[in-house]
Amino acid sequence: MNWISEWALPKIKTLFGGPREVPENLWHKCPACEQMIFHRDLERALHVCPHCGHHMRVGARQRMDYTLDPNWQRIELPKAPADPLRFRDQRRYGERLRDAQAKAGQEDAVVVAHGAIEGHRAVVAAFEFSFMGGSMGAGVGEALVTAARLAVLQDSPLIVFTASGGARMQEGAISLMQMPRTVIATRMVKEAGLPFIVVLADPTTGGVTASFAMLGDLQIAEPGALIGFAGARVIEQTVREKLPEGFQRAEYLLEHGILDMVVKRGEMRATLARLIGLLRVPQRESESLPEPEVEAPPALPAPAEAEKPAPVT
């Protein structure tokens, strides 16, 4: 899409009163199977292709709608210094940032909200990949630290949906330091006894995977999501080998023990709700649990029972 197809062509068409066509954006083409999908069907399917099951990328606010019960609230985030290095490549970073902000209607690549998931209170942070590739600079670091603090304050689990190319180069070593910074955020949540759940969406790579995104108490991914540290091209150039089929995809990571589960978007909300329910022992119950120190040693099973082979299930 460029300005010609987006703006000029429709203008020309109206000017010349040509045959009324169905506007292009009512139909979407699945990038995987190339079948056409009517926009309402796509919305209903949470942007998962009804033909092939391909999970398309979705924005941060859509994530909130898909995950949280209605009436979730977005959190105002502290401002990070814009363009600390006064970085300039072919364009000024300051300009790129302002463009991205105007287009996305948000300050940086992460949106933080609080609400409930099927009734379970939760703080959710979601990456917006369309905002400079979801890259992590000081603003994203600040968002995650804020989300962690809020989770602790509200005694809620923290769930982060990632989609990021990695560190934001335009912030140089400051972006690198967001790796330890976000790791600290995970520690805050964990030390408060709260679940920290990461949901890796397509794509999540680089400095984001090598920091908070691999430190979840539970690691979930969406089907087919690209997840890895190094980029495929860099690896290919280094090892001069063809990459295996499905390399760095969610299913590959699951097979290699890096994830707990791959969950379809349509089942994500219910899965998260169930997991939170299982991890969060109701307060009264946990208080009444005996202290391990004073607990009597467990009684040994009766010999007859101990000899029985353990049931295989």
């Binding site: 290095l85 000081a138 070593a173 400051i174 330091m177 967001q178 995977t209 090598a210 080998e241 590959y252």
Partner: protein
């Protein structure tokens, strides 16, 4: 044979001339001591002038200089009773990460680092300082060991970055780095990290989330290599010198951004021209940073380390 960098060519020519003249003298020719002295002075002032205003790209080349002292050179010179440890207890020993126990100024410490190697054989052995998950898991193990026994941790970082390989990804490179960073931040003991050459991205911070971070004057510390950055943002790796400038990756830049604590001056013409002096200067600065930390308890150290990293990016402006 000294290895000269491209921008040192005029220096190389001068030193070649001096060498030639000396040989004539040694062969019983005419005495040219005066001429040699004059040329030496000229070479010295040229060296000083060149190194006084190195561009970020030139610093990158110096930071990667093959003759620069490497992690093991620092360990051999500064650590007594050096006892290397091996393995991640799960898969392998990764020689790109060096770790072990020893004494620094009489005090028992744990030492970590990335080793690039100093000749072809050792470079291959250490995989050019690019660690695999096993390396970061070994680092984490040694950090935790140090924590258990109250040993201060010293690290010497010199790496282009984590190794980008199929197997490394399959075994969880990202997770290994993340856990190593976490271990650094959690360590209940004083931790001083020194960037001695290349501080390459995640592979470097994995061993450098410390209480005090030192950088050698001509070392670099960056989120991505200038070449990598140039090929992404300029779509042309040849723009690396421009990218090096933009990335603000020199010790001076990092100090100004408040991302490192101390810049250790190097001998004139870089650490590679006088490794002994460079190592001694690092030893002195590491001790100066470590000593005040020894009085602090684990909880205080950890809390302050967190505060330090939580501040990074909040107010950093060039």
């Amino acid at each position: 044979m000294r290895h000269f960098l491209d921008f040192e060519k005029p220096l190389a020519e001068l030193e070649g001339k001096i060498e030639e003249l000396r040989r004539t003298t040694d062969a019983g020719g005419i005495d040219v001591a005066e001429e040699v002295g004059r040329l030496r002075d000229k070479a010295q002032s040229l060296l000083r002038a060149t190194y006084a205003r190195l561009s970020p790209w030139q610093k990158t080349l110096v930071a990667r200089h093959p003759d620069r002292p490497k992690c093991l050179d620092y360990i051999r010179a500064l650590i007594e009773d050096w006892t290397p440890l091996a393995g991640d207890r799960a898969f392998a020993d990764d020689a790109a990460v060096v770790g072990g126990l020893g004494r620094f100024r009489g005090r028992a410490v744990a030492v970590l680092g990335t080793e690039k190697g100093s000749d072809t054989e050792s470079r291959v052995l250490h995989n050019f300082g690019m660690a695999r998950p096993e390396g970061y898991r070994k680092a984490r193990r040694i950090i935790e060991l140090a924590g258990r026994f109250g040993l201060p941790i010293l690290s010497f970082v010199d790496t282009a970055g984590a190794f980008p390989g199929i197997e490394a990804e399959a075994r969880g490179q990202a997770e290994a780095i993340a856990r190593s960073i976490e271990a650094c931040l959690e360590a209940p003991v004083p931790f001083v990290a020194t960037i001695i050459g290349e501080g390459g991205s995640g592979g470097a911070i994995a061993l450098a989330a410390a209480d005090r971070i030192l950088m050698l004057e001509h070392s670099i510390y960056s989120v991505i290599s200038p070449e990598g950055c140039a090929s992404i943002l300029w779509r042309d790796a040849a723009q690396a010198p421009t990218a090096a400038e933009a990335l603000k990756l020199t010790a001076e830049d990092l100090r100004r951004l408040n991302l490192v604590d101390t810049v250790v001056p190097e001998p004139m013409g870089g650490a590679q021209r006088d490794p002994e002096a460079a190592i001694a200067a690092v030893g002195q600065q590491v001790w100066a940073c470590l000593e005040p930390l020894l009085a602090l308890d684990g909880a205080t150290l950890r809390a302050r380390r967190r505060e330090k990293f939580l501040e990074m990016g909040r107010n950093s402006v060039v």
